[in-house]
């Protein structure tokens, strides 16, 4: 079957044999976007988190056919080195990553959180950011999430259209 969606701002259509194939493999192996990670394949770690219509989705457990007509953002489409997303900027400033493997998933989950809740409290963070980081970068991540919220607020203040 053919499915069509928008990914990182580009219209895309892909041919898949089985509509129930996890979207993760379409993204990683068919579209060759390797920033979205395979950690468990069971929606248990968050390494594969992407945005589907602005919602954080663990795409290892999301049937590709459901992507039809959706707006998808992966880490590659969130920001660029020249124009990082506030979450990426904050991640750099706090020097969060260690091995880095979990980081795209956390960054995407955080981007989704800040969309809904531009100034999350520690409790909001605890309840919403539930991915797994084996290197234990949680302490810096929490700081980075607060910093990202502040950066985003600044951007909105400078350019209200960004809202």
């Amino acid at each position: 079957m053919k499915i069509a969606f928008t990914i990182n701002g580009r219209a895309q259509s892909v041919e898949i044999e089985d509509g129930n194939t996890p979207l993760l493999w379409v993204i990683r192996d068919q579209l060759n976007l390797k920033g979205t990670k395979f950690g468990c394949g069971k929606a248990a770690c968050g390494a594969c988190t992407i945005l589907v219509d602005g919602e954080a989705v663990r795409c290892c457990s999301y049937a590709a056919k459901l992507a039809e007509g959706k707006q998808i953002t992966t880490i590659e489409g969130l920001g660029t080195r020249a124009q990082p997303h506030p979450v990426q900027q904050a991640w750099i400033e706090e020097v969060v990553p260690q091995c880095g493997y979990c980081q795209p998933g956390f960054i995407m989950a955080t981007a989704a959180l800040l969309e809904k809740n531009p100034a999350p409290t520690d409790e909001d963070i605890d309840n919403n950011i539930v991915n797994v980081c084996r290197c234990g970068t949680y302490y810096r991540m929490r700081k980075a999430i607060h910093r990202a919220a502040a950066l985003q607020a600044q951007q909105v203040a400078v350019n209200p259209k960004n809202q």
């Binding site: 990670k37 990426q88 493997y101 979990c102």
Partner: protein
């Protein structure tokens, strides 16, 4: 101060100049050789010393390339698995090469070109062991460039200076790239005098990680991201239970599944190769395999095997007399720790391409050279015919000190004649890990009339850590009679206690156990430091004063005392329970880096919560203080996770659980809101960082819980009774 280690000789063998691929000059200098140790030396090394970087033993010898854009590429003998090694190595090289760290690109050396460590990346040694050789290489290269520039400029080499990749003379200047491009022959100088600490521009500074951007913008840098044209995908079916043997295989139904290319019987496993990974997984479910399971192991079986008093006994420390009730009342406590999984986020796997007379394997591994040798042997090739290309690792923690699955990927590739990428499923990771072995400890203590410890004994039982592993020759264990991995942290650091014993009981378990970040340190320190704190309470003394009284100024004693003093001071340690919170202190010394933690803990609805950790580490010279802090934070979180949440069990022969979630781990909500790291510098050279801070965390939490609730918790993971 750390004692000065004997200077190793660098033998300068070869120097190549190569063009192409944007490379204008190739520097290849020297190899370090691991000394053949004798027992006494090795025991000491296991305790305190940083083993020297052990070199590769291959003809490939590439360290540096000068690139056309005047950047320098460093081929690192150690891999980057999150520990920040690439950043630290770039800083170290930059200071001797006279380039900015940003001008250095670090890649992990592949076996066909660069120097790979013959042992491993591990033991917290990446920076510590390369500190001397890398500076010597870099300084030598700088001198070579200068000497060559002198010729090209017609100037006296002594009159030249170097800065940010440029050689300056009174007349003019040349970039390193220009010098290398014009050079036809190079002179190899003696290793020059190395810079003194006061001259470091980058070492000791919080330089930004070199791998930050790829990790924040999602670049394809990990083993599982690798691809080759025409690549197929594979999954492997492994024994369903511990000790199971493949009895029969029926792959007919699976072979007809869409995309399936081949089903291959491997050694006690079945590989399924398909066009896509989901197809390989789907086909695996259709393969009918029967297993012989001689015994369905249960948790109780393991516990009864693994006990103090059973297995091979070895006294690893002995001073004074064995403790006996005749000399006064002995307090005895028993501690346990469970089987632990590595649970690194990137599953294992390997991309292999076997062709006529050569093979390439791309993977996340801590043992690059060993993996090459293993693959070569399995394929009947010479090691030189196999190129192992290490990538960034999505976590190591000791799990990738055994990457024999590269062999399976290679065999599958050979069977289908195409590149094959094999990836573990998460269930496979959890059930076929090389686990942290469970442990059992009995600690005995007696207070003398002065209220100080007159005797302390640590008896500890463990499964394999170093024994049976690839990176420690088994002869070493015969010489030592002990598992030096299980021994980490097993000896008692309180040298003022007149009667001390540490006794190891070793048992090999029916499933694979091996290296797990910090090895025996976490459980051993939990047992010893829980007991020491208990005795301080029973003696009515301040836990820091009590500890300090038992440590002399000898050896590392002064440095251990310094971290304890600093930790209680910075934390504002108090014995009192305040606002429902209590503090706990613990300390340890691992690979010559002493560390002390003070934690602040509450217990709410039966759940232990850690609010704040004050960590003091003396790791000598901190090459990158920010990344040393990051390693402390990470060690604290990983240690907390193991101490408070994690546990594998054997159930009807299967290791369980098989997925995150049921395998409970520390998450964001468990992370302390405050972690303050303080670094002391008790040595001029960098000492290990990545594991020592794991040591005291479990005991510190247990000690705080004891002071808060009166309960002495003796089993990991810590749970309120």
């Amino acid at each position: 101060m750390a004692q000065d280690k004997p200077r190793k000789k660098v033998s300068r063998r070869k120097f190549l100049v190569r063009a192409g691929l944007g490379t204008v000059g190739v520097m290849a200098i020297g190899t370090y050789v691991f000394r053949n140790p004798i027992r006494r030396e090795v025991l000491e090394m296991a305790e305190t010393l940083v083993p020297p970087y052990s070199g590769s033993g291959t003809s490939a010898n590439l360290w540096f390339e000068v690139l056309e854009d005047n950047r320098v590429r460093l081929h690192s003998p150690k891999v980057e698995m999150g520990q920040g090694a690439f950043t630290g190595l770039a800083q170290i090289a930059a200071d001797e090469l006279d380039v900015a760290p940003g001008q250095i690109e670090v890649v992990a050396a592949a076996t066909d070109s660069g120097v790979v460590d013959a042992m491993s990346t591990g033991g917290s040694l990446s920076i510590a062991s390369l500190w001397q050789p890398l500076r010597e290489m870099a300084a030598t290269m700088r001198e070579m460039l200068k000497n060559e520039a002198a010729k090209q400029l017609g100037a006296d080499a002594g009159s030249l200076s170097t800065r940010e990749g440029i050689v300056f003379s009174g007349e003019g200047s040349l970039t390193y790239a220009e010098i290398a491009a014009a050079a036809t022959e190079w002179e190899l100088p003696e290793v020059p005098e190395l810079r003194a600490a006061a001259q470091y521009q980058y070492v000791g500074k919080p330089v930004q990680r070199v791998d930050l951007a790829p990790k924040v913008f999602g670049s394809p840098i990990f083993g599982l991201d690798a691809e080759l044209p025409g690549m197929l995908h594979a999954s492997i079916i492994r024994p369903e239970a511990v000790g199971a043997q493949l009895k029969s295989l029926d792959s007919k139904a699976a072979a007809d599944m869409p995309g399936v290319v081949k089903i291959v019987e491997l050694e006690n496993a079945v590989g399924v190769v398909a066009e896509s990974y989901p197809q390989a997984l789907a086909a695996c479910r259709k393969v009918k395999v029967e297993w012989d399971v001689p015994k369905r192991w249960a948790e109780e079986d393991i516990r009864s095997l693994l006990q103090v008093g059973k297995g091979d006994k070895m006294v690893t420390q002995k001073a004074g007399k064995a403790v006996s009730e005749e000399d006064g009342a002995v307090v005895s406590l028993s501690f346990t720790s469970p089987i632990g999984a590595h649970a690194q986020l990137e599953p294992n796997g390997a991309l292999a391409h076997v062709e006529e007379g050569k093979a390439t394997v791309v993977l996340s591994t801590q043992v690059v050279g060993i993996t090459r040798n293993q693959v070569a042997e399995a394929l009947g090739m010479k090691p030189e015919q196999v190129n192992v290309v290490p990538t960034y690792l999505g976590g190591g923690f000791g799990r990738r000190l055994n990457t024999a699955h590269a062999i399976e990927a290679a065999l599958l590739s050979r069977a289908v004649g195409k590149p094959v990428k094999y990836m573990f499923t998460r269930q496979e990771e959890f059930q076929h890990d090389t686990f942290r072995p469970p442990t059992h400890h009995i600690v005995k203590a007696r207070l003398g009339e002065d209220g100080l410890l007159d005797a302390l004994e640590h008896h500890y039982a463990s499964g394999d850590v170093a024994i049976g592993s690839l990176i420690m020759p088994s002869a070493l264990h015969q010489v030592l009679g002990t598992d030096i991995g299980a021994m980490r942290g097993g000896n008692i650091m309180y040298d003022n206690i007149p009667n001390r014993r540490a006794v190891q009981w070793h048992t090999s378990l029916p499933f694979a156990t091996s290296w797990w970040r910090s090895l025996g340190l976490l459980a051993n320190t939990f047992a010893i430091e829980s007991m020491v704190d208990e005795m301080a309470m029973r003696s009515g003394q301040h836990p820091a004063d009590f500890r300090l009284a038992h440590i002399s100024e000898e050896g590392a004693g002064a440095r251990i005392k310094a971290v304890i003093r600093e930790a209680v001071e910075k934390a504002g340690y108090s014995d009192e329970v305040q606002n429902g919170r209590a503090m706990g202190l613990a300390a340890s010394i691992d690979t010559n880096s002493p560390c002390a933690h003070v934690v602040e803990v509450s217990v709410e609805a039966g759940e232990i919560k850690v609010h704040k950790v004050t960590c003091v580490l003396d790791c000598g010279l901190a090459v990158n203080p920010d990344q040393v802090r990051a390693q402390c934070e990470g060690s604290i979180l990983m240690g907390m996770s193991a101490a408070m949440h994690e546990k594998m069990t054997l159930h009807k022969g299967e290791l369980q659980p098989t997925i995150y979630g049921p395998y409970q781990m520390a998450l964001m909500r468990h992370a302390p809101k405050e972690i303050n790291v303080y670094l002391l510098q008790g040595a001029e050279v960098p000492l290990p960082v990545g594991e020592p801070p794991l040591g005291p965390i479990a005991a510190a939490i247990g000690n705080a819980v004891r002071r808060l609730t009166g309960q002495r918790l003796t089993d990991l993971p810590l749970r309120m009774g």
